[in-house]
Amino acid sequence: MYRVYLDNNATTPVLPEVLEAMRPYFGEHFGNASSIHHHGQETRAAVERARESVAQLLACRASEIVFTSGGTEGDNLALWGLVKPGDHIITSTVEHHAVLNTCKHLGEEGSEVTYIPVDSRGLVDPDDVKRALRPNTKLITIMTANNETGVLQPVEEIGKIAAEAEVYFHTDAVQAAGKVPIDASKIGCDLLTISGHKFHAPQGVGALYVRKGTHLEPMLYGGSHERSRRAGTENVPGIVGLGKAAELALAGFERGDDKTMAAMRDRLERELRQIDSAGVNGEGAPRVPNTMNVYFEGIEGEALVIALDLKGLAVSTGAACSSGAIEPSHVLTAMGLRPGQAKASIRFSLGKQNREEDVEFASTLVPETVTRLRELSPLWQKSVVGK
């Protein structure tokens, strides 16, 4: 079957150049990067080169990069590493579950948590963050880009607020890294999480930026890897892949790849908006160039995702729970969408591998599938008769 993949916010394919860069580290260069001998020296050099590349992507020092297993670990390390019982955390209602559920657990262990709401565009108001500050506020954690809508939060303004108040600022930049240029010092954050597989590195590798001078308690104890911040033998092939993907992302920004991608996304958005009673979630807010979240009144997003998949188009809705069933999105609900509207929303997310014909395929398939679903939807038929 001809298949088009437009679910790159879930994961991206490893680019051929990335795979090539990794390949020697599965065989020929197999050493433990902590070993004294030749084999260890070889892989140590590769790890440190990758660290340089990732540092360049985030415009920070190499010594500020801690390699992790991915976004969830980065978020957990940032939060557990800083927050103690009695501390106050400020976060938002639209964070990824890696942050939300960590906050929930920290709350259960004696921390206080404030959840800042978002407006109908999905944006946090920095003034709300400022007002939420307390004497015991230890950390602000607000994401850079939202995974479901692609909406970019005003992290630089929040960074200023954090700096003035002398509280730590962490941002989950998993959905921003590789998609928009990131400058950690401009954001003014102390901690920033990225994940490799969201920008064409393999699954199972990521990094946490830790600003120089930030004292972070490790979560994993063991050897003195990663400056004693993350014990465990380095995932060398993964780290090499992450470094390569970072290089490719930077080169892409120089070519203006992000603008090309935004144009492609906008074309698809224009096509889909022509469908009756359809709209874009997060409209009017700045967004990463690859993501669009659209609702089609009167349909079940779940059925649409399945119907599209059976015809070769991979997209997604909400967050998949462990059984694979779909739960209403906490992000869209927080933006004030009615439950029916939230359930009628679909996320399309592009990757570097997507081409014009993929967008064309979606532009043809989605409208006809939405029409079919509506013909069979008691909800939609009722509302049409109502009009």
Binding site: M1, Y5, E302, D309, L310, G312, E327, R372, S377
Partner: protein, 391 residues
């Protein structure tokens, strides 16, 4: 050159024949032997099969509450069952999806289930689930994703009757597995889009076929209990559910009375009783006593001797007719008043809109409001309704 990821190089270019066609069949897969075998059978016959599992109830919701077990294993909608269904789908090579219908299930099955007990009746949630979820919601989803028909692992048969132009529901070849009692609510439209591929088979044959197809679940034990009530302890479930909803716990105590109205004791709540029950009445008399009737409005439980349980007639409402469009003249049928009941000879007659009276040839024991009365003409289901009262 197409750069689409995961694109099968051999199928590059135009859409392939794998796309859903009018012939596509959605199989409702629970992860059990029956529905898994159905999927394998239809796939082997060359149909385009799409596996669907309905996520109906989150077993973790009430875990640990009001004495409910902390750990939930191997029950409907558990991760284990979804895992099994997914493995089967993978083995036989069909697309597979989980669809979430928890909201609808709670509204149309769980809430009424709780309400029936609070009203002194004994509900059958499986029939409600078939009517509202499996053959309504699931069928809609199936059609939306391109499958015009749904197949399930129920033991029953569907045929089209040329002369009357009606779809018929019939008892299966394996009478010991007959599930038609729970399917009496299916409409003509639903039946026309339904397949019961196990209707002509026995359970051992089904298991044998599952083994032949090398399905991992071939030896999985059958489930008998109500899927959302772990261990079959419905009282504990009611307590836990009401507590979760922030509703007051079940306080339906009242009087225990005899048929002539004499109060002989107190009881701890009408939901603890069902018609025909003998144990746990908490009153001691010379001769054995049985629950004859539960009065929802006065919370009285009427008790009496065994012979008081026998009645010649019952009134049913919310009728669904299958083999006939309407009931004109009284009709000779046999009637089942609970799942494990030997159909009894009776005449049925229409006594009002959406109402039928059943006149049994011989008195029947423990006719229970809330259960269904299902009418049979031989193996053919004539129709059925919900028991309101006996008399």
């Amino acid at each position: 050159m197409k750069a689409a990821v995961g694109c099968d190089p051999s199928a590059e270019g135009s859409p392939s024949s794998e796309m859903p066609t009018a012939d596509s069949i959605a199989v409702a897969m629970s992860g059990g032997v029956d529905s898994s075998t159905v999927a394998a059978m239809l796939r082997a016959e060359g149909h385009n099969v799409i596996g669907l599992t309905m996520q109906l109830w989150n077993q973790r919701r009430l875990a640990g509450r009001e004495g409910m077990p902390e750990q939930v294993h191997g029950r409907c909608c558990s991760l284990d069952d979804v895992y099994d269904a997914r493995r089967v789908a993978e083995t036989i090579g069909i697309p597979y999806y989980v669809v979430n219908h928890e909201e609808r299930f709670e509204r149309d099955v769980v809430r009424p289930f709780v309400q029936e007990y609070l009203s002194g009746r004994t509900p059958i949630p499986c029939s409600l689930c078939n009517n509202h979820l499996k053959f309504d919601q699931l069928l809609t989803v199936a059609r939306q994703i391109g499958a015009e028909r749904v197949a399930t692992g129920h033991y029953a048969q569907v045929t089209f009757h040329e002369e009357t132009g009606r779809w018929l529901l019939k008892r299966p070849a394996d009478k010991s597995k007959d599930q038609t009692y729970f399917l009496f609510g299916l409409t003509q439209e639903q039946l026309s889009r339904t397949l019961f591929p196990l209707g002509g088979m026995t359970k051992p044959e089904v298991r044998e076929l599952a083994r032949k197809h090398a399905l991992v679940i071939a030896e999985k034990p059958d489930s008998q209990e109500i899927c959302f009530v772990p261990g079959g302890d419905y009282k504990r479930f009611l307590d836990a559910y009401l507590a979760e909803q922030g509703e007051p716990p079940l306080e339906t105590p009242g009087e225990m009375v005899t048929t002539d109205g004499q109060v002989i004791g107190e009881h701890n709540g009408i939901h603890n009783f069902t018609v025909g029950q003998r144990k746990g009445l908490g009153v001691a008399t010379g001769s054995p006593l049985y629950v004859l009737q539960i009065k929802g409005d006065t919370r009285q439980v009427v008790v009496g001797p065994d012979e008081g349980l026998y009645h010649r007639t019952l009134q049913a409402h919310r009728i669904n007719l299958i083999s006939v469009a309407k009931l004109g003249e009284p009709m000779r049928v046999s009637v089942k008043i609970r799942h494990r009941h030997e159909p009894a000879a009776a005449a049925i007659e229409c006594t009002g809109p959406d109402r039928i009276q059943v006149n049994f040839d011989e008195p029947q024991r423990a006719i229970t409001p809330g259960q269904a009365a299902v009418f049979y003409d031989g193996d053919v289901v004539v129709g059925g309704g919900w028991i309101e009262s006996s008399g």
